[in-house]
């Protein structure tokens, strides 16, 4: 077994013929063991990089086939444990896009984006997949997150399927599944996250070059931030709504897939990620391939960090030291050291069109959803956050997007 090599290496200190023979024997034994293990080479490769000691469970939504898959990753590798259909008609696509776990890990919520024209937020029991409620929201509900107290689900209404006019963030009472507020923010509100204390909600406005902050105590926009390079500015209050005409020539960049045109220095923000301590918020500038770091106290720019091509979604480790970004135009994931702002590794993904990030509860693994293209399956790649290498991969339904970590548990051997 490859895993036994360190002990072999440890015997290199043995001297003399007997020692040499012992060393050769050990090497031969190791080689034989490796050859015998060839059929399970992939599994051994995982173990060589630190096989998980327990099982990790992750939910992922596949937008083109109306399915949510539960992925189990453990010592035996990664596999789809079960799937759940989340659509509404055999000949239409509901388009599950965002996925969010409740803090008590009892429920998961799925935003179905397509609608006619409005999408929905659906609630399921995490243990049984039983449907527990549904509520109609706005146009193309996308990124979703449950507040830390578990009372509310925040969902951005991306409004991809309509005129480019200001859209909103829906707030849903998680128990009753009733939409209690719809907060107008900006055009194409996209990737959004709550601060750890649940008091602030940040969303990126893909077509407005803005970050918008909602005060969750008042359910109103409290501040916004202009993200364009050289024009960075923090502003109190809500942005002025802009009409469809003003966006008529704005290039949506193939939703992060097309490189910026020459001379285009716009940000086209696709994700807002507050730091664990709440002092900073990072915004992925998909077009300019940068991460903008903003001080939440002074509401000023701290840094513009270079990022991977087409940086799209962000996630952080629970200890707050690392930022993980999906690079939509690069078929890769970046792991960034928060303190230095430096990219520690850029890990290739199995397929192109890299989408979301979920981090395990012990910060050892990042789970990356990859949409794929056309008839390719979607994929979840699993990255070891210690070795910074991809250690497993499992195919799911087409256009894998919304992803969230459910729980870890003792390994099923």
């Amino acid at each position: 077994m490859i895993a036994s090599l360190p002990s072999v290496r440890g015997r290199r200190m043995v001297r003399g013929a007997a020692g040499l023979a012992a060393l050769l024997a050990a090497l031969l034994a190791a080689l034989l063991a490796a050859l015998l293990a060839a059929p399970v080479f992939a599994l051994n490769a995982i173990r060589a990089q630190g096989a998980p000691a327990k099982d990790y469970l992750v939910f992922v939504a596949s937008e083109s086939v109306d399915r949510v898959a539960l992925i189990r990753f453990g010592p035996g590798g990664a596999a789809v444990e079960r799937e759940r259909y989340v659509g509404w008609a055999p000949t239409e696509v509901a388009g599950p896009h965002g996925l969010a776990m409740s803090p008590d890990r009892q429920h998961y919520f799925v935003s179905t984006a397509h609608g006619t024209p409005f999408g929905r937020l659906q609630k399921y029991n995490a243990a049984t997949d039983a449907a527990e409620g549904s509520v109609m929201l706005g146009n193309f509900p996308a990124t979703a997150q449950v507040s830390p107290d578990g009372y509310y689900v925040y969902v951005v209404n991306f409004n991809l399927h309509g005129d480019m006019v200001a859209s909103d963030v829906s707030v849903v009472a998680a128990d009753a599944m009733v939409e209690i507020a719809r907060i107008r923010t900006c055009t194409m509100p996209h990737g959004s996250r709550l601060s750890s204390d649940g008091l602030k909600h940040y969303s990126a406005c893909m077509m407005d070059e803005l970050l918008v902050e909602i005060d969750t105590r008042t359910l109103a926009v409290s501040r916004h931030f202009v993200l364009s390079a050289g024009k960075e500015k923090g502003v109190q209050g809500a942005p002025q709504p802009r009409g469809a005409v003003e966006h008529a020539t704005h290039d949506m960049g193939g939703h992060g897939m097309d490189p910026p045109k020459p001379g285009d220095v716009s940000c086209s923000p696709t994700w807002a990620q507050p730091s664990r301590d709440g002092t900073r918020v990072w915004v992925a500038c998909n077009k300019s391939s940068e991460i903008v770091e903003i001080d939440t106290r002074s509401w000023t720019l701290l840094r513009r960090l270079p990022a991977g091509p087409g940086v799209y979604n962000l996630g952080t480790t629970h200890d707050g030291t690392r930022l993980i970004s999906t690079n939509k135009r690069d078929q890769s994931v970046s792991v960034i050291d928060v303190a230095s702002g430096k990219e520690l590794a850029r890990v290739p993904t199995t397929r192109k069109v890299v989408h979301g990030v979920a981090v395990s509860d012990d910060d050892l693994y990042a789970f990356i959803s990859v949409e794929g293209s056309g008839s390719q399956p979607g994929t979840v790649d699993i990255i070891d956050l210690v070795t910074l290498r991809k250690v497993a991969s499992v195919d799911v339904g087409q256009q894998a997007g919304g992803i969230d970590f459910w729980k870890s548990e003792p390994a099923r051997r």
Binding site: A89, T116, A131, V135, A181, R217, Q398
Partner: protein
């Protein structure tokens, strides 16, 4: 102000804050007239009924976005009649939100018009006739008002409280219908009952089931002079058919029918005999191509009749190209792969030189259409695409060429419900020339399918029914760049599909899905599913579709009116095709059906035995094995190219009638 006060409260004080026990909303039974506004008020109260300081109150409309809007302060803007549900939430940081649901009844505006049916009466003394009065608001909303009836000349014609008019003696009377301060009058002419002769003559004494027979009532006075325009009451026995107020009769079963025209004390009867329609024929599947990887969507046959194109659904990114020169041995010879995960529609131009493929689910979310040239129909060549404004996706497309305006493709926009018109005269450089959308609130506007005939475009507008536009017919001066509304036929989908809600619970999918113009009729089909079948679908088991095909008489294009319908006993009605006097249909679970639509159409087409053929396409190797879900059909050279969502393409020939062997 409460919210601001709350923000300044120290956290200790928050912890001691009483919990919200309930929310008091005023008015307690909110009602507002369509077009007006209403301010809701709410207060958070604790268990003792005392106001909870610092509680934030939010109002949020939870449904009925088509009927009005509610802002977060509780101001209701009532747009249309219905019920607007509102969630009123009391929010206190650290506490579970308390929600009170209220429903705002949106009522029709004051009565503005009364429509009386029939519009005029000519009765014989002693005759009675029931009339009806419908009350509408200025916006055209139906009101439930009771109508009172009075006669200005009760000695001539008496008006009953229920709208029954009784002719008493010769003369003229004006009967007035009144409701809510609005009046409408009905002129009643009463003639002496000295009738000499009454005869009733059918347009044909013998016919087949489903044939429309019109009856001519001839009434002559004692002098033998014809009395024109009398309004009889029609009776029918046995009741397996229907007869309209205009005397048009259609029978459903073979046999003898007695039709009676009742004129007070006088009546006249006649009989007609119906024979079986006898159109049933065998159908043979002459060839098929079963697909497993994806469900398959639209089928199209090239004008040369030798090549078929088949779209793919639910993750499908390709159009299969099939050589069907030998229909018994269809085979896939090529495929066009595009950036999409659903190809709902594919169509060629009439000259067979250009093909358009719709795209949804592109990985860069820039959907739209792909335009191909067909120099070699077996190997389409993508040469252009159009995405501007339709990146949300295009579900359906229709290519139509007019000598005056050139070749255009008419597109549905998934995002806005708008119609886009794109010039594809140069296939490599599609160019938008116009757009059109229903003049209504954006919410709920969905355009699903398009059909064009003789310069008139028939748009299946889901919630808004059928919309007819002039794009070059000359009726309204429309053109591709400037479509003009001709008429709209909107109907109550919820009422029509009530059984679906009864079976599958509240909330269901329903809308006007497709349309086809043929002679003086437009066939419109609804797409209907319950929301209760998700587990079946996930487990690859068939989910049931519902739906009705309605036949609209558009001989007066400005006023389409329903005259006939078809509803399968099990299944839906999806796409239709008409060739000659036959209507072909993909009926989802009900498979492939063909109907005789010759002659005038009235009533229930299924009951009157107009169905010619039925095939249930399915295959053990299908995407869902042995499960029929027939999408649509194209007819070419006497063959029906039938696509089944779950199983692929089936080529069906309707055979001649089998000879009866004694």
């Amino acid at each position: 102000m409460r919210a601001l006060a709350f923000l300044m409260v120290p956290s200790l004080a928050l912890a001691q804050q009483p919990a919200v026990a309930r929310i008091n909303v005023t008015p307690s039974a909110p009602r507002v007239v369509a077009g007006e506004t209403l301010q809701l008020q709410a207060e958070a109260l604790d268990a003792g009924g005392r106001p909870v300081p610092g509680a934030t109150i939010r109002f949020q409309q939870t449904a009925a976005q088509f009927e009005g809007a509610v802002d977060d302060k509780g101001l209701v803007h009532a747009g249309a009649v219905g019920t607007i549900p509102v969630a009123v939430t009391a929010i206190v940081q650290g506490q579970k939100p308390v929600i009170r649901r209220v429903e705002v009844a949106v009522l029709p505006g004051p009565a503005a018009t009364i429509v009386i049916e029939p519009r005029a009466l000519k009765l014989l003394a002693g005759q009675s006739m029931q009339v009806s009065g419908h009350v509408f608001s200025k916006a055209g909303d139906v009101r439930p008002d009771a109508v009172t009836w009075t006669s200005a000349a009760p000695a001539v014609a008496r008006a009953g409280a229920d709208g029954s008019i009784t002719a008493i003696s010769p003369g003229s009377a004006v009967v007035t219908a009144a409701a809510g301060g609005v009046k409408e009058s009905l002129r009643v002419e009463v003639l002496a009952a000295n009738v000499g002769s009454v005869t009733l003559t059918p347009s044909q004494p013998q016919a087949r089931t489903g044939d429309v027979i019109r009856f001519r009532l001839s009434v002559k006075d004692a002098a033998g002079k014809e009395i024109e325009g009398l309004s009889p009451t029609w009776l029918l026995a046995p009741g397996h058919g229907e007869i309209d107020a205009d005397g048009a009769f259609v029978g459903y079963d073979a046999g003898r029918y007695t039709v009676t025209a009742l004129l007070g004390a006088r009546s006249v009867q006649t009989t007609v005999t119906l024979t079986p329609r006898d159109v049933r024929r065998p159908a043979t599947v002459v060839g098929s191509v079963v697909r497993t990887a994806f469900p398959t969507s639209e089928v199209w046959v090239h004008p040369n009749g030798k090549v078929a194109y088949l779209g793919t659904h639910l993750g499908g990114d390709r159009v299969y190209v099939l050589d069907v020169a030998d229909p018994a041995k269809p085979r896939i010879v090529d495929s066009v792969i595009v950036n999409a995960r659903m190809i709902n529609d594919v169509m060629t131009s009439e000259d067979g030189k250009v093909m358009v493929i719709t795209r949804e689910g592109a990985d860069n979310r820039k959907n739209g259409i792909v335009v191909c040239t067909l120099d070699d129909p077996l190997h389409p060549k993508p040469v252009g695409e159009f995405t501007d404004g339709v990146t949300a996706g295009v579900h359906s497309a229709y290519i139509y060429t007019q000598p005056k305006f050139g070749m255009h493709v008419y597109l549905t926009n998934d995002g806005t419900g708008a119609l886009h018109i794109v010039d594809i005269g140069d296939p490599a450089h599609p160019r938008q020339v116009g757009t059109w959308k229903t003049p209504r609130a954006d919410a709920g506007r969905t355009l699903h399918d398009i059909d064009v005939r003789d310069g008139l475009l028939y748009a299946s507008y889901w919630n808004d029914g059928l919309v007819i536009l002039d794009i070059g017919s000359g009726i309204k001066g429309g053109s591709p760049s400037n479509p003009q509304l001709v008429s709209q036929y909107k109907y109550d989908l919820n009422a029509l599909c009530k059984q679906v809600e009864a079976v599958g619970g509240p909330g269901f999918v329903r809308g006007t899905h497709t349309a086809w113009r043929h002679k003086d009729y437009v066939f419109i089909a609804d797409e209907v599913f319950t929301l209760a079948d998700e587990q079946l679908l996930f487990n690859n088991r068939p989910a049931r579709a519902y739906g009705r095909l309605q036949v609209l008489d558009v001989s007066d294009i400005a006023h389409p009116r329903p005259v006939a319908f078809y509803e399968p006993e099990y299944g839906g009605v999806h796409n239709v095709w008409v060739a000659g006097d036959t209507l072909y249909m993909g009926a989802y679970n009900a498979g492939f059906r063909a109907f005789d639509i010759s002659g005038e159409l009235r009533g229930d087409l299924r009951a009157q035995q107009r169905e010619i053929a039925h095939v249930n396409p399915s295959d053990p190797k299908g995407f869902i094995p042995n499960s029929t879900m027939t999408w649509g059909v194209v007819v070419k050279n006497g063959l029906a190219y039938v696509n089944d969502f779950n199983s692929g393409l089936f080529i069906v020939r309707i055979e001649p009638r089998a000879p009866v062997v004694p």
